[in-house]
Amino acid sequence: MNRIFRIVLAVLALPMSALAEVAIPVTYLQLQVARPPVLSNLDPIPDDLGVAGAALGLADNLTTAKFLGHAYSLTVETVPEDGDFTAAARKVLAESPFLILDAPAAAQLAVADLPEAQGAVLFNASAPDIALRQDHCRANLLHTLPSDLMRGDALVQFLVRRRWDDLVLVAGDHPGDRAFADALRTSVAKFRLSLQGEKTWVFDADMRRNAAQEVPLFTQEFGDYDVLLVADALDDFGRYIAYNTWQPRPVAGTEGLQPVTWSPVIEQWGAVQMQNRFADHAGRGMLPRDYAAWAGMRALGEAVTRTNSDDPAVLRSYLLSAEFELAGFKGRAMNFRPWNGQLRQPIPLVTDRAVVAMAPIEGFLHERTELDTLGVDQAESLCTAFTE
């Protein structure tokens, strides 16, 4: 129970073994971003979101390392919202080229463009922005968090499969809400379903009291449809939509049936063991950002294990090669798209209580791997940094 926790502390407390020939110091570099106020106080965002995943990844890596004489460490650097994130990045890059980034896209790009970051291996574990995988991609920035588009495609594949073709969308007005709504629109068009109506959520009333009066009227104009999509990345109003719609129809998106990176309800594919390890050491369920940080740490560990190297150039090249595979407890081996550095991965479709389906949904075929039916495919790629 306390086993993992102890290992982490021990390694954090001790200087890295001078005897180890291969030593991998990793920094989790985090920019604190204040969350705008939301309607409900339920489901607060854990303070150690992401960090706890990296810590589990470290513990996993260390177990392998002890049999191979490798060494890993994890340092968490947190920069306050008004702090100088790139200055902090410069400082940590002077010590190690291995970073897990937990920051908005713009801050990550600023770090990736630093002279000190050229040749570094950076993992984006927090930003779902499609642009980071497209025209804003950087050769030193790999993405373990899926893009908004991968999640959108996963959901829409499921809707196609069920023949729930007629959709309507309610989106919030926060930038994250708009980005996910954009991804949903792209996915709906890609798989040729129809978006019959859209509304923006602009209420400023307290929905905890008013949902029953407001939401039926708000959704009445949509007429008939199969599924109501919700884009509420902030987790502000989405919880008040279900069962209050004018039409008795399911809700999906950031609410109801959700395409997610990870969820505590995943128990297949050997996931129970990882969920238990995580819960033992973090005291809570494992969330998407935890998973992305874990995957960054583990991907690096897997590359070190297989190459027996701590040279970032060797590791980057192995990470992007066809030989690389990460067992991510989602049913199939995962690897990186060599054209934009995105980790290919299945996207579970979950409710709060169960996994409903796993995308790619059966029947969506691809010449390379079915996983490439999710997100930006090579033919649509605007990223050139990886081929230059």
Binding site: R3, T63, T64, F67, R277, R332
Partner: protein, 320 residues
């Protein structure tokens, strides 16, 4: 009604009891007993929580059961289905192997990254060995000198000296190793890797890799071809390999390491065992909740037998 039952009973009494295959049902907390003569389930017994690995003592007088969520290895009397006692097992025992001395059980403790060695006679833990994360596959060499634990997340086979109960080698395999077996009189060690989609063959003497077996099922994406349990037939000439969610069992020439056949079975095929002359093979199919019976010579499935939910392990028991 009663009359028919009595008649049936009379019939069974006059026939020599047939050999049996025992199946653990992970999500039903039971074991099912299949009569190899009739290919029907004749008994179902309750076990502890989440039974996975099962194996008989060398004289088949007791059945050992990994009751994973009860954190115990249970000892069952196969004649009555009664649990005689529990053995200490460490937390979350998933799979185990009985040493040729018929006394020491080597148990993989999945949640604890430990291999526990238990003396089944004194009922004491005699050693605990730190291994990689999520240990699962377990094997002991025929001479009893080497025990193997494979760890799912660390991706290694850990070689244990059974004299000192210490690790003497750790060898990397592909992602998510699941099962290990000593083959050809203990000269080779085979380890299946579920996510890697391979079986790695080691030379036991040097602990070095000598071959790798890959699989390709027509019409199934390579990602879904996930080797898990396997067993060898007729003088270790042919290996039968369960390929998980591809719903096929591969027949592999154990000399050339070439795959010769793919046999369609139930969904998410996991482990397997043979009957006494190895003419029949029984595979556990977790998702479809059944057991496929394969005619080994013809390499064809001949029957599907419904068992409990999520059948996991299979163990043969002769009754003569």
């Amino acid at each position: 009604m009663r009359k028919i039952a009595t008649l049936a009973l009379g019939f069974f009494c006059t026939t020599a009891a047939a050999d049996e295959i025992w199946i653990s049902n992970e999500k039903d907390d039971t074991v099912s007993v299949i009569d190899i003569e009739t290919l029907e389930v004749i008994k179902t017994y309750d076990t502890g929580e989440r039974p996975r690995g099962i194996t008989f003592s060398k004289d088949y007088s007791v059945l050992y059961i990994c009751a994973s969520d009860s954190d115990a290895v249970q000892v069952m009397d196969p004649e009555t289905g009664k649990i005689l006692h529990d053995l200490p097992s460490g937390e979350d025992p998933e799979q185990f192997v009985l040493h040729p001395n018929d006394r020491h059980l080597y148990i993989a403790n999945e949640d604890d990254a430990i291999t526990t060695v238990v003396d089944t006679q004194s009922r004491q833990v005699i050693a605990q060995i730190d291994v990689g994360i999520e240990p699962e596959g377990m094997a002991v060499s025929p001479d009893g000198k080497i025990a193997i634990t494979t760890s799912e997340t660390t991706n290694m086979a850990h070689w244990i000296d059974t004299e000192s109960q210490e690790l003497f080698a750790n060898t990397l395999v592909d992602s998510r190793p699941r099962h290990a077996e000593f083959v050809k009189d203990g000269t080779e060690l085979w380890v299946s890797s579920e996510i890697g989609g391979t079986i790695t063959v080691f030379d036991v003497e040097t602990q070095t890799e000598k071959a790798k077996i890959s699989f390709e099922v027509e019409g199934v994406h390579p990602d879904r071809v996930q080797p898990v349990g396997f067993e060898l037939s007729d003088g270790d000439k042919t290996a039968f390999v369960a390929l998980g969610p591809s719903n096929h069992v591969a027949a592999v020439d154990a000399e050339t390491y070439e795959v010769e056949d793919y046999i369609l079975v139930g969904r998410r095929v996991w482990h397997m065992d043979f009957n006494s002359d190895k003419s029949l093979l029984f595979t556990t199919n977790g998702v479809s909740g059944d057991v496929t019976v394969i005619d080994v010579a013809a390499r064809e499935p001949i029957k599907t037998i419904k068992v409990g939910r999520f059948p996991w392990g299979a163990a043969f028991r002769p009754t003569d």
